[in-house]
């Protein structure tokens, strides 16, 4: 590593990122460092985000929760604001690595790294969150569901910095769940990771549905067709079973070093079924 810059002002950071050969952005370093070790390479210029105030903090304005990109997993886990507005995200952050990784790893790093097995995207998908990207050219918002174009291919230009994530808060009475099946009980990368946001109307039929899964395709997958199919239905065991089938069919898992495609399809279905069964209990 030849140059290490840690600006205090966002515009300084954006200027650096706008240069012809922009520096490598470093947040918690928990993804970058292992990559450097594995490839036995180090970047020549590193831009550290740790002094940028704009990238910190958890605030809520009305129904929107704003999370700075450098908020850590530990902060997400412990924040009452996050627990109330997006409980699945708080739950997801609590499953990342273990304590040390949670203390260092950040929301922005988790999203920008672009791993299809990352644990934070599914709850952000189901909450319909937006990410705020800044560059010298200006700022824009991208729905998280459009952030991932393909395997590790992000809707983010080289000069853009992920500054914040905006999350519509969970409406009262709605159900939000997170489920991770990892390779073990800590320090585990997901074999399957999923989240849902589901709501019933006063008649007991499903009025809102959003479901997303990671580690079952090249990118985090929103099960939109299943969600539309669910809306207007009652959460009966039969609907749950059919939904499980639809979910298993919708995902595109592979056999890899962590698990098998068959197992992943099966587990996705069982998770969906369990959520529908739980949703039904909201009625009683």
């Amino acid at each position: 590593m030849k140059t290490f810059t840690a600006p205090e002002r966002l515009d300084e950071a954006l200027t650096l990122l706008g240069e012809a050969s922009p520096p490598t952005v470093l947040a918690g370093g928990t993804d970058l460092w292992p990559q450097w070790t594995a490839t036995k390479t180090k970047p020549t210029h590193v831009l550290s985000l740790h002094r940028l105030e704009e990238l910190r903090g958890i605030t809520r304005a009305g129904d929107i929760l704003r999370l700075g990109a450098c908020v850590t997993h530990s902060e997400l886990t412990r924040s009452p604001l996050v627990q109330a507005a997006c409980p699945a995200l708080a739950a997801a952050a609590a499953t990342v690595g273990a304590t040390q990784i949670q203390n260092r790893g950040t929301l922005g790093g988790n999203l920008a790294n672009g791993s299809p097995a990352a644990d934070l995207p599914p709850p952000l998908f189901t909450a319909n969150a937006e990410v705020e990207l800044h560059s010298r050219r200006g700022a824009r918002r991208v729905p998280i569901t459009r952030l991932y174009r393909g395997y590790r291919d992000l809707e983010r230009e080289r000069d853009e910095l992920l500054v914040a994530v905006h999350i519509p808060a969970l409406p009262s009475g709605a159900l939000e769940r997170f489920w991770k099946v990892g390779t073990r009980r800590a320090q585990a990368i997901s074999k399957v990771v999923g989240a849902c946001r589901l709501a019933l109307d006063e008649k007991g039929t499903i009025s809102h549905a959003a479901l997303a899964f990671g580690s079952v395709g090249p990118v985090t997958m929103a099960l939109d067709e299943l969600a539309s199919w669910l809306v207007g239905k009652e959460p009966t065991p039969e609907v749950g079973e059919k939904a499980a089938q639809l979910a298993s069919d919708a995902v595109q898992p592979m056999d890899d070093i962590r698990s098998t495609a068959d197992y992943r399809r099966h587990v996705v279905g069982r998770i969906v079924k369990a959520w529908i069964v739980e949703l039904a209990t909201l009625n009683r």
Partner: protein, 764 residues
């Protein structure tokens, strides 16, 4: 003293971080080594070109051609080259080594070397060799084989009411010590070389490296430095690395060190042998065993190295701790083009124990006898004959461990209540619950005539000032040997533990007490040291008695003081000074010999395979998620007989650690072999070890069935805990779900596949 929780002598320095491991020791002018590795799994070397933008004149580069002496590593079988010369037999096999001022430069230089190979067909997996083995394919290369037994198996199986047949497979396992392999070679002023590092067996490394350098053992000595774990992974492998650094150090005329990084260590150092075991058994209707026919295939990897002895131990334990009127075992290790498999805690037994104990549950089921009763009825007893026709004479705790296990775990009641056929009502929302039992044994010390061949020598120095120093080649790798051996000596001598220490292990100063392996250190080395301590005590009492003109029988040493009955005669140090006179110290030596009644024929594998055995039982409780098939293990209970407990806390630590290692083997650890012959999961991200959150509550119960020739009655302990958990967990999973997974690890994916297959079978 024996039976006390003496604090580990290395505890303080490990806690405050002052203990220096191999990579921490500084030498002026030290260079660092890295390895050039073969790009293909099998083929002929056609060229090694030092390319790249590298000034090679500033580095040291060595290939097989630079080796002055023996090109192969001296081990059990001497078939593995230090550096591949012509034939390459696994991907990543060392073909050259480089030394440079920094590790990064050395690694960069290695990457600039182009290795050209002419490919040959490679055999990579256990599945391939098993398929060929079953076809009788002559392509297979036998690295080692043994067969033994007694009686006509075919006739006996013919006569049996019940015959059950099954095949079981186990994967590679990585030792996963915290400290990766590391070795340093230091040229010395007298023209000799010192090789030091993280190694279990200094007297394996010394002759291997001396032969490679073509120097006498007076010109080469080996120091074992503090170790961050080994588990067998530093038994034979350090000889290879020691050779590499010694070669470079001699060429460079300066100290050279190699430290493997984690992925290199996992990918290229020795693993537990993958194994396939095919078992045919016959029993009478009432569940009495009639015959066992056992066919074993081990994946030896590219070279024989330790395979003959690992295979032998695995095979000897394969029939389990049961009385078989007729038994035949055939075991063979074949070559595959993957890194050589070698020593790992348990040494072949975890594989065969998993197979036979899974199989015994199945046999019990067919015989309609409960698993614990089945084992109790068929257990080996005093006077029984083992597979090698050894007649057991003493220290057989089979009944005690089984009965104690039933008592402390309430196994029978849980087994009847839980499980897919249990009496408990099944709530489909709750996890499936099961309980499983395994019963196992482990021969203590080297197999057969091994201890006679080693003829372990130990020395004990009584030094002016009252210090007592142990000199042995047995190393401290975290298991507590250098705390327990002083406990044995202090106990026999009558001095406080703090007064006894173990000298640094350096082949220049310590005799060859044998390798630190095979659960032999406490029992064999400790036993001889106890003898030395008793000799020393007798000598001191005799000398004191002469001076005081008393009968030596009236004197004793208690807590570092000499006593005549109740009368205090002064400190041990004072009387030692008087006895030593002008001498600085007095040395007591002993050498181990096999008990004369032990008979062993290696070729036919018949006779007394071990001087004694330890006995154990494991009970595993599982909760299996009905949607994801994740296995939670709330509790594992181990009941083990170790003869005599020297240090309860350390002994318990051995059992807990081994059990957790076995849990990983059973549930999640798997290296895997890629299509190109590379080991697939070469990091702790992908090679899944259990974390503290995956660790169950491990309940340890220890029984003491003394062995007359062990110190205070102690038998070996280190390896046995590795044998129990895998089969107990396999049996518990079967109990919970009614499906049996016959290949480790019992991953959720395999349990799911087995359940799906069972469902499909039921509905068709």
């Amino acid at each position: 003293m024996i039976g006390d929780n003496k604090r580990r002598k290395d505890a303080h320095d490990k806690m405050d971080g002052s203990l220096r491991y191999t990579a921490d020791v500084d030498y002026p002018g030290l260079w660092h080594a890295a390895t050039v590795r073969a790009p293909l799994a099998h083929g002929r070397l056609r060229g090694i070109r030092q390319g790249g933008n590298i000034d090679w004149s500033k580095l040291i580069f060595a290939t097989a051609a630079d080796i002055p002496g023996t090109k192969n590593v001296r081990m059990i079988a001497q078939d593995m080259p230090f550096l591949a010369d012509d034939l390459v037999r696994y991907k990543g096999e060392p073909v050259a080594v480089v030394a440079a001022p920094t590790r990064a430069e050395a690694q960069m230089a290695c990457r600039a070397v182009e290795v050209e190979m002419e490919p040959l067909e490679a055999i990579l997996t256990l599945d391939e060799i098993v398929a060929k083995h079953q076809r009788g394919d002559p392509d297979l290369e036998v690295l080692s084989q043994w067969s033994f037994g007694h009686g006509d198996v075919e006739a006996a199986l013919e006569s049996a009411d019940i015959v059950v047949e099954g095949a079981y497979t186990t994967p590679h396992q990585e030792q996963a010590y915290l400290e990766t392999n590391a070795m340093t070679a230091i040229p010395e002023d007298d023209g000799g070389v010192c090789v030091e590092g993280s190694l279990q067996c200094p007297y394996y490394v010394a002759p291997a490296v001396a032969a490679m350098l073509d120097v006498g053992l007076d010109k080469l000595h080996v120091r074992a430095l503090p170790m961050g774990g080994a588990f067998g992974g530093k038994e034979d492998f350090p000889s290879v690395l020691g050779g590499h650094v010694a070669l470079l150090a001699q060429k460079a005329g300066r100290p050279v060190r190699i430290v493997l990084d984690r992925s290199e260590d996992i990918a290229y150092s020795t693993k537990r042998h993958p194994a396939w075991m095919h078992i045919r058994t016959g029993a009478a209707k009432d569940g009495t065993l009639i015959a066992a026919d056992i066919d074993i295939v081990f994946d030896g990897g590219a070279y024989a190295t330790m395979s003959p002895v690992v295979l032998s131990r695995g095979a000897i334990h394969a029939p389990g701790p049961y009385r078989w009127p007729v038994v035949q075992v055939r075991a063979v290790a074949y070559r595959t083009h993957t890194p050589p498999n070698g020593a790992f805690r348990g040494f072949g037994v975890p594989q065969t124990a998993y197979a036979i104990e899974s199989h015994m549950d199945r046999l019990a089921q067919v015989c309609e006898v409960e698993p614990h009763t089945f084992r109790l009825n068929n257990r080996l007893r005093i006077g029984d004959r083992t597979g090698t026709s050894q007649v057991l004479k003493d220290s057989v705790a089979s009944e005690e461990v089984l009965k104690h296990t039933m008592e402390v775990t309430d196994f029978a009641r849980k087994w009847r209540k839980w499980g897919i056929k249990g009496t408990d009502k099944h709530d489909l929302g709750a996890p499936a619950r099961g309980v499983g039992l395994s019963f196992f044994w482990h021969g203590a010390g080297f197999t057969g005539a091994g201890e006679a061949r080693i003829a372990a020598r130990v020395a004990l120095d009584l030094v002016q000032g009252g210090r007592v120093r142990i000199r042995v080649s047995s190393t401290e790798m975290g298991q507590g040997a250098h705390t327990v051996l002083p406990q044995i000596v202090a106990n026999a001598l009558g001095v406080p533990h703090s007064q006894v220490s173990v000298d640094p292990v350096d082949t220049r100063f310590v005799p060859d007490s044998g390798p630190t392996v095979a659960s032999r250190t406490t029992m064999i080395v400790g036993g001889e040291l106890e003898g030395c301590a008793l000799d020393a005590r007798a000598w001191l009492l005799q000398s004191t008695a002469d001076k005081l003109q008393r009968a030596p029988e009236t004197l004793s040493v208690v807590e570092g003081r000499l006593r005549g009955g109740k009368e205090d005669l002064g400190s041990f140090a004072t009387h030692l000074q008087a006895a030593l006179g002008d001498n600085e110290l007095k040395t007591f030596e002993r050498q181990h010999a096999l008990a004369p009644h032990l008979q062993w024929d290696e070729a036919s594998h018949t006779g007394d395979a071990y001087a004694t055995y330890t006995w154990g039982c494991c009970v595993a409780e599982v909760l299996i998620h009905r949607d994801t098939y994740e296995v939670e293990v709330p509790r594992l209970t181990m009941v083990v007989d170790v003869g005599r407990i020297i240090n309860p806390k350390l002994a318990k630590g051995q059992v807990e650690g081994g059990t957790l290692q076995a849990l990983g083997y059973a549930l999640c650890e798997e290296v895997g072999v890629g299509e190109d012959g590379a080991l697939l999961r070469d990091s702790f991200q992908t090679y899944i070890l259990p974390t503290t959150l995956d660790a169950p509550e491990i309940e340890v119960h220890m029984l003491e069935k003394p062995y007359t020739r062990g110190p205070g009655g102690a038998k070996g302990l280190g390896e046995m805990p590795m044998n129990g958990a895998a089969p107990a967990l396999a049996n518990a999973v079967e109990h919970a779900l009614g499906v049996r997974v016959t290949d480790l690890p019992l991953s959720p994916e395999k349990i799911f596949a087995a359940c799906s297959a069972a469902r499909a079978g039921r509905s068709s």
